[in-house]
Symmetry: C4
C-alpha cells in the first residue's frame, strides 16, 4: 500500500448529503459525537479508508486483529426534504506530516463523487478548565456557512480565542474549498486534559447538529456509554502506552538486530 485507499462496499444514492467528520483529537469530542450519532441513527457502513500514514501497528480487539482505519457511514433522512448524512469516524489520524493532506484529499474526492457539497468536521476546543455548559464554536471557510447555520446555537466569533486547528479537523475543511465545497469546523469547548473523553462537549455538539439538520438523536445513553468506553479507553491507553514503550525498545533492538 503506497497510498491511502478507500474500499467501497456499496455506492449509496444520497439526497443533498453533508459529510460529518469525527476523528480522534482533543477530548475525543469529534469521534465521540459522530460515532454516537452513527450508532444511534443505525447508519450503514458503506466504505473504509486505509492509509500507510496511520501508525505502523494493529490493535487487538476482542481476540482479533483490527487494522487501523476510518469508516464511512450513511444515513438516509426519512423526511421528504431532509438531507442525508455521511458520517466518517475512525481510529487514527495521520502519523506523518504529509499524510494529513493526502488523506484529506482522498476523503474529499470520494464524497464529492457522491454528490456531497458540504463538509463539517467536529473537534474539541481546549480551554484548560471545565465548563458547566460547554459552548460550540463554528469556524467556517467562507461567509456562506455562517449564514446557513446562524440560528443553531453556534458561536461564530472565535478570533482571539483559537489561533490554529491542528490535523484533520482543520485540514479537511481548509481543503474542501479546493473541491468546490462549503466547509466548517465545529469545536466543542472542552478542558483538554490528556487522556480524557468529554461526553459533555460531545453532547453540546450533537445538540447543535440536531438543530442544523432538523434531526433528533436520543442522548440518554451518551454519558453511560462514555462511562463504559472510558473504562475501555483507559485500559487500552495503558496497553498503548506500554506498546509504545515496547515499540521504542523494540525499535532500538531492531536497529541492533537486523542481522540476527
Amino acid at each position: 500500500m503506497k497510498e491511502t485507499i478507500i474500499r467501497v462496499f456499496k455506492k449509496p444514492k444520497l439526497k443533498n448529503p453533508v459529510l460529518l467528520v469525527g476523528l480522534p483529537g482533543i477530548g475525543n469530542v469529534g469521534r465521540l459525537a459522530i460515532g454516537y450519532m452513527a450508532s444511534h441513527l443505525k447508519a450503514e457502513k458503506f466504505a473504509e479508508l486505509y492509509s500507510p500514514h496511520f501508525f505502523n501497528l494493529v490493535v487487538i480487539h476482542e481476540d482479533r486483529i483490527h487494522m487501523l482505519r476510518q469508516e464511512f457511514y450513511c444515513w438516509k433522512n426519512p423526511k421528504k426534504n431532509g438531507r442525508d448524512l455521511i458520517m466518517l469516524v475512525g481510529d487514527s489520524q495521520s502519523a506523518t506530516q504529509e499524510g494529513h493532506y493526502e488523506i484529506a484529499g482522498k476523503i474529499l474526492e470520494f464524497v464529492s463523487k457522491l454528490g456531497c457539497e458540504e463538509v463539517i468536521t467536529v473537534g474539541g476546543f481546549a480551554t484548560g478548565k471545565i465548563a458547566e455548559k460547554p459552548k460550540v464554536y463554528g469556524v467556517p471557510v467562507e461567509e456562506e456557512m455562517t449564514k446557513r447555520y446562524r440560528k443553531c446555537g453556534i458561536d461564530f466569533r472565535v478570533s482571539g480565542k483559537v489561533g490554529t486547528i491542528v490535523g484533520a479537523a482543520g485540514i479537511i475543511p481548509g481543503m474542501a474549498k479546493l473541491y468546490g465545497m462549503h466547509a466548517m469546523a465545529l469545536l466543542g469547548e472542552t478542558p483538554g486534559f490528556p487522556i480524557h473523553m468529554d461526553p459533555s462537549a460531545a453532547e453540546a455538539v450533537i445538540k447543535v447538529i440536531e438543530k442544523m439538520f432538523g434531526i433528533q438523536i436520543d442522548l440518554s445513553q451518551l454519558h453511560e456509554k462514555v462511562e463504559e468506553m472510558h473504562e475501555f479507553v483507559r485500559k487500552i491507553e495503558e496497553i498503548q502506552r506500554e506498546a509504545l514503550e515496547e515499540m521504542k525498545k523494540k525499535k532500538a533492538q531492531e536497529e541492533l538486530k537486523y542481522i540476527g
Copy 2:
C-alpha cells in the same frame, strides 16, 4: 493531495516578467518587502500554491479557516519598456526536507510557462547586531546578474560573510538554472533576533528593487504598517507557540488514543 499544486485563476500575459519571491524567514525580510510591494502596487492575485509539505494545520484568521498557502501576484508595468513583475508571497515554507525541492520545482515550472526568465528571492542576512543603514547583499547563480544589476546598490561580495542559504531563498535560485533562468538571492542585513520583523531591512531591499526595475514604491506606510503587523504577529506568535505545544501534547495524546 499527494503533491504540491498550483490553482490558477487567470493566466496573465506578461512582458519580460521577473519573479520576486518573499517567503517567511530571518526577520521576515522577504515576506515583508514583497508583500508590501504587492499591496502598494495593487498587484493582482492570479494563482495560489498549496502543498502537503506545509505544516499540518490551518490558521484561524478573522473567524475564518485559512489554509496555509503561497500566492502569486502580477503587476503590469505601465512604462512602455518596463518589465512586468510576478510576486510570490506566502504563509509557509516546506515543513519537510524533500518538500523544499518539490515546491521550488513547481514554482519555477509554472512561471517559466508564463515567459519568466529571471528569478529573485528576497531574504534576510543575519548579523546579530542592529545596522544603522542595512546593506543589501546579492548572491547570483551566475555572472550575468552581477552585470545586469551592478549599479543598483547591491553588495555582491558576500564570500566569507555568508556560507549557506537555507530554504526557499536559496533552493529556488539554485534550481532556476536547471530551468534555463537567471537567478539571484537578495539578502537584507538584519539582526536576526528571534520573533522579530525587520522593516528597515525590508525598506533597504525595496529601495534596491526600485533601482533594479525603475519603479517607485511609496514607502511612507511601511514602518507604520509593520508596527500594526508587529502587534498582530506578536499576538499570533503567542498563539502559535501555544498551538505548537498543544500539538505536541495532542500528538502524544493521539499516540496514546487512537483506539479511543
Copy 3:
C-alpha cells in the same frame, strides 16, 4: 530504487500454499522459527525483496557486502493432500513509518498471484519473565482461522493480554484481508529481554506449526544452532551498536562536511 521490489528467480507452482512470515522482532522468535524450518526442510529460495525503507547501510558478512533483504523460500509437500509452504525470512523490517504498509502490500500481492490464500506471521509475545513451557498465542483477523486450527495447541484468548502488534507481524495479517486472504499472527511467549534470541519460544511455535500442517521438523539442532547464532549475533550486535554510533557521528560530520 524508489519503491520496494521483488526479484523473482523462479515462479513455483504450488498446491494450496500458506505463507509463513518470520522477520526480526521480539526475541527473534519469528525469524528463528521460520528460518530454522526453511533450512531443515531444505526449502528452495525463489525470490528476494529489497526496499528503500530498509536501513541505509549494508552488512559485511564473511568478507562480502550483504544488502539487507527478505527472502522467499518454497517447500513442496510430498504428501498427496498436504499443503505447500512459502516461507519469508529476512534481515530487516521497515525503518520508516509508511514503509511497513508498502512492504506488506508488495508481499501480499506477490504471494496472492502464486495462489496463496492464507498468511501466518510469527512473532514474540513479551511477558517480561521466563516461562518454563512457553505458550503460543494465535490472533486471527477473522473467525475462520480459529476454527481451522482449534486443535493445534494455540491459545486464542489474548484479550487483556496483548493490546497491539507493532510492525510486520501485525500489519501483514491486518492487510491480508484486503487481498481476500485468511490471516493470523502466531506469537510465542518470550521474556522479551533486549538483545536476546529465544529458541524455546521458536521451538514452541514450530511444534504448533507441525500440528497445523501435518509436517515434521527435526528440532534436535535448534538449540545448538541458536547457541552458535547467539555468539554470532552477539558479536554482530556489538559491531552494529558501534556502527550505529559511528553512523550518528558520521551523519553529524556529513551535516558539517558536505562542502569538504
Copy 4:
C-alpha cells in the same frame, strides 16, 4: 523536483568503463581520492545529479550560489587495451533514509546504459588511531572482484573488522548486483576523527587504483592541495556549523512565524 534527476551534457562513448565513486564520508577519503584523480587526469564533466534528498540549502562559494550536486566525469584511457573511467564526486549524500536507495538506483541505471559493468566505491575505514602506512580494504559483493584484483595490494579479509558500511559507499555496490554489475567498496584505513580530511588514506587508495587499472596519477600535489582544502574546509565547516545552528533556530522561528 520530486525525485533525483541526472542532467546529461554529453553521452560519452566509453571502452569497458568502470565507475569510481567518491562522496563525502569518514575522513573524506572517497571524495578526496576520486576528486583528486578526476582533476589530475583532466577528466571531463559530462553529467550532474540533483536530488530532493540532499540538504535543503545551497552553499555560497566564491560569491555565487552553488546548489548541492554530484558530478560525473569521464576519462578516456589512451592505452590501447586500457579501460575508461567514470568518476562520480559530490557535495552531499542523501539527507533522508529512503533517499540513499533512490540516488544509488539512478546512478547505477545511468552508468549501466553507458556500458559500465563494474562499480567501485571509495570510503574510509575508521580505526580510531593514526596508521603509519594506511591499509586499503576491499569488500566485494561477489568472489569475482577478489580474483580480478588480488594482486593490487588490497586486503580482502575484513570480517571481524568491519560490520556495516553506512550510506552510498555500501548501498551502491550492494545494489549494483541488481543491475548485473560487479561491485566492491575500497576502504582506506583512517583515524576517523571528526572534521578531518585524510590525504594519507586517500593516497593509499589512489595507489591501489593505479595498480588496478594500470594508470598513473601524479601524487605530488595531493598533500599540499589537501592542506589548502583543509583551510577551506575548516572555514566552511565553521560556517556550516553556524548555518546549521541558524537553521535550527530559523526553523524554530518559522514554526512560530508562518502567519507573520
